[in-house]
Every structure is written in C-alpha cells, then in structure tokens.
Symmetry: C2
Subunit: 158 residues, 2 copies
DNA sequence: GCTGAAACCGATAGGAA
DNA sequence: TTCCTATCGGTTTCAGC
C-alpha cells in the first residue's frame, strides 16, 4: 500500500464501509476517539478521495431484480475504435452493473442484473448482441448469493 | 415486479442509491416533494427493507487494492456437507467480495479483491486451495474497470 | 395523502488545554 | 494533537389543510 493512513484512519474506513449512517459520536466511540478529531479525519478522508461516496444499498430481491449474470464477451475486431465504442455503449446500459477488461481469453467480463431470465434474454438480444464488433457472448447465470458485499478487505493479513 | 412502489418511491430509491448523503430537503426537492412526506417515505422504505443499508464506497486504487479476480470454483464431492462447509468458509474471507452458486459447469463464482497479483496468488494457495472439497479453481484477472456501480437498474425499460 | 412550522438533536467549527 | 462548548443546520414531529 503506497498510502499513508494511520491505524485509526483504517478503523474509520472499515466502519464507514460497513455502515455509513453512523453518527459522528457513535463512530468516534467505536474507533476510540472523541467527536471532533474523528469528524476531522472523516473529512480529510473525503477530501483526499479515500471515501468516494456514500450510497444506499437496495434489496435486489424485494425489488424483483434478482437475476445476476456474469457474462464474458469477445470482440471480433480488436482495433482501438471498436473497443472504445463497446466500452462507451456498455457503460450506458443500466443493467450492466460492472464491466472489466480481462487478461486471458475473454475480452470483457460483465456483471448484469435483470428482473428475470426472460428479461436477460431480451436484454442480450436487444442491446448486447447489437453492439459493435461483438463476436462471442457467454452467459454464466448465478443462482444464489452466498456473499455480496461492497467492503474492501482492509484487514487482510497477507 | 411484485412490489407496490409508487413512481415517487422509485425516484427516491434511485437518488439514494447514487448518493445517500443527500439531506432530506435536497432529496425532497429532487423528487418533487416537500420534506415531511419525503422523509416519511424514506423511513417506510427503510422499515420495509427496500433500503438495506447505507455504506461508504472507498477508492480501491488509492487504498492499493486494485486487483480484481473473477474466480470460478468446482467442488469434488457434491454432498450437502461439503457445499455448506465451503460456503461458510468462503463467507469469512474478507478478500472474497462476492460469491454465487451458479448454473452450468462451475459450482461457484467468486469475486476477489487483493492488493496485487502476488497477494492473490498467496491468497489462493493459503486459503482457497486449502478449503474442503475443492477440485478446480479458474482465475480470470481483471485489468481495467470500465464500469463499477452498486446501483440496480430501476429505470430499465424492458 | 401534503404543507408548514416548531422543537429537538446532532453536526460543525472555534477556542482552550 | 484532543477536548469542550456554542452555534448552526438538519431531522423529526405535529397541527392544519
């Protein structure tokens, strides 16, 4: 880690990435600080960009959005143009929650969320398969979420 | 969608899943409501579990945690016991951000975040490969994040 | 149901140790 | 640095529409 964060800062980040609705007082007591210095540190972490934003995590199941698909994509023409077009187009699609370029045999890995499998099918046909330069699409459909967090492993021991 | 959410509720959810640090007044004005009813709706959405929690999203890169790996796993013994052991063990590992059971040829898909590829290698050897009943591990390493959001596609048109 | 206002409580900043 | 305190603003409630 090329970062210069104190142990206290790390504690604060750990708390906030598991619950950002804590009051300053509660957070302070959990990290063993009093309010003011704690609040100051939080602000610094915000300013310096360690904390990107605070969001609400919704219950996908209750909202009827519980189909998760990991979708690997290969493009046919590997020219620059084609890649950027694809990336821009994909970033616009709300169903695409995540998209990464990959090493190995696949060009992109997409995590897609839709209402049900029919919708996924329709989504692929209507949007994904229409995109510029697509050669192969491979869909891996998730059944049950065993774990699903947004918290980074700050307490890793490796 | 088997849910009975009004258009206003959906607007509220959309706002909060992109920014949960909005004040009640600001949120109210964005969804075209005044504070009180807006606040009431937010509370109801919390109580009913549509909003699960509010978290801080951290800057993985600044924290030196920018290796993302999608890892598919197959277990050897497909008895109940083996599955639950694996799931419980995996849920404990902070490096495992997400874990899903899958249809198709792989048993599990894991999304893993570590500091660098060396750490990933070490993580796989130390923890993953030691787990009960593992047969195959296939690691797909992400290079660049094109898109990475936690927002569900509430405005999907399909 | 929504609006507006009032009361309360927590967040913020400044000053003292 | 941290702690303490005062002020300010947001949240929450309640009465009226």
């Amino acid at each position: 880690m090329q970062t210069n964060l104190s142990a206290t800062d790390l504690k604060i980040l750990k708390q906030l990435q598991s619950d950002a609705s804590l009051t300053a007082a509660e957070l302070a007591s959990r990290v063993g600080l009093s309010q003011s210095p704690c609040w100051r540190r939080v602000n610094k972490l915000l300013e310096e960009g360690y904390i990107q934003k605070r969001v609400a995590l919704l219950n996908a199941e209750k909202l009827g959005m519980d189909v998760v698909v990991f979708c690997s994509v290969n493009l046919s023409a590997h020219g620059r143009q084609s890649l950027e077009e694809f990336e821009q187009a994909v970033a616009q699609l709300p169903e695409v929650i995540e998209c990464y370029t990959m090493t190995g045999t696949m060009d992109y890995m997409l995590k897609i969320v839709t209402r049900d499998i029919r919708h996924y099918e329709k989504f692929v046909r209507t949007f994904l398969a229409q995109m510029p330069g697509i050669q192969e699409i491979h869909s891996n459909i998730a059944v049950t979420a065993i774990k699903n967090t947004t918290a980074l492993p700050l307490d890793t021991q490796l």
